[in-house]
């Protein structure tokens, strides 16, 4: 079986990992209440979806 000839130094390992980056989720503001909402999700605060009330919430305006 093939094996690495040299141990990868911490420096090379860490340099490789400089390209590992976290990306933030895409979100927008609810058209009804303005709270942040993930795309294609019903608003968790007011239950609106695409500018219409989709789910009854107790706090619904």
């Amino acid at each position: 079986m093939a094996h690495p000839k040299r141990k990868i130094s911490k420096s090379r390992r860490d340099k490789r990992r400089t390209h590992y980056k976290a990306t933030s989720a895409t979100f927008m503001e609810c058209s009804n209440c303005g709270s942040p909402v993930l795309m294609h999700r019903v608003c968790a605060d007011c239950g609106y979806y695409k500018g219409k009330p989709a789910i009854e919430k107790e706090v619904a305006v």
């Binding site: 303005g34 999700r41 019903v42 219409k52 009330p53 789910i55």
Partner: protein
């Protein structure tokens, strides 16, 4: 190889899966809206929609076929007696899936699956919003550029919302003036158009009578 086999096994044996889908279908028919994971909801959609179509022909055979899937007397009678009337005019697409975020615990993507004709909130809004969307599509290019420029300029969100609301109102007014021949799928716009036409007739009648009176 599993090339092109799109059926989701949901990590269950066939019998386990069949039992689960049958229970979920019964729950959906009885309570009109259930909360579940997106994967299960999509599998349930394929399972329950043919049954809903089957319910449109109310005879002993189709009842027995549906019962073989649901295995639940209450849900079968509910389906054929109540639900079948509601969905009679809908050519398929009886269910709606709305994603509601991820579950605490296993971070599963959750959703609500519901019978479209039983969501009165959305129906009410849809009847009002339907002509509006039609119009926006027709004059889409100019409108979209306007919106985009407005959004980029107006950083204040409240202003944006107000402006949009104003636009919506304007749209609605314009749309009401249009000839209302096409949008007669649902009952609400039908009623509105009827009212309008009667009003117009009354108005025209009134005008005619006044003219006649003038002639006299």
């Amino acid at each position: 190889m599993r090339h092109g086999k799109k059926f989701n096994h949901l990590s269950r044996t066939k019998s386990h899966r069949a039992a689960m889908l049958s229970n979920m279908a019964s729950s959906l028919i009885l309570s009109k809206r259930i909360s579940t994971t997106v994967a299960k909801a999509k599998a349930l959609r394929k399972y329950v929609e043919p049954l809903l179509t089957k319910s449109k022909t109310d005879d002993t055979h189709s009842r027995r076929v549906v019962f073989s899937y649901l295995q639940n007397k209450e849900s079968v009678s509910e389906l054929f007696n109540e639900v079948a009337e509601k969905i009679a005019t809908r050519p398929g697409g009886y269910t709606r899936i709305l994603k509601t975020g991820n579950r605490a615990g296993d971070n599963a993507e959750m959703c609500i699956i519901e019978l479209v004709d039983y969501n009165e909130l959305m129906q009410k809004e849809a009847s009002e919003a339907k002509p509006k969307t039609r119009r926006s599509r027709r004059g889409g290019a100019a409108k979209k550029t306007e919106d985009a420029s407005a959004t980029t300029k107006a950083t204040d969100d409240k202003q944006k919302v107000e402006a949009k609301a104003d636009e919506v109102i304007e749209d609605a007014e314009v749309v009401e003036d249009l000839p209302a021949g096409k949008a007669e799928v649902k009952e609400a716009p039908k009623a509105e158009t009827k009212e309008e036409s009667t009003k117009e007739e009354n108005a025209s009648d009134g005008a005619d009578t006044s003219e006649e009176e003038d002639k006299k």
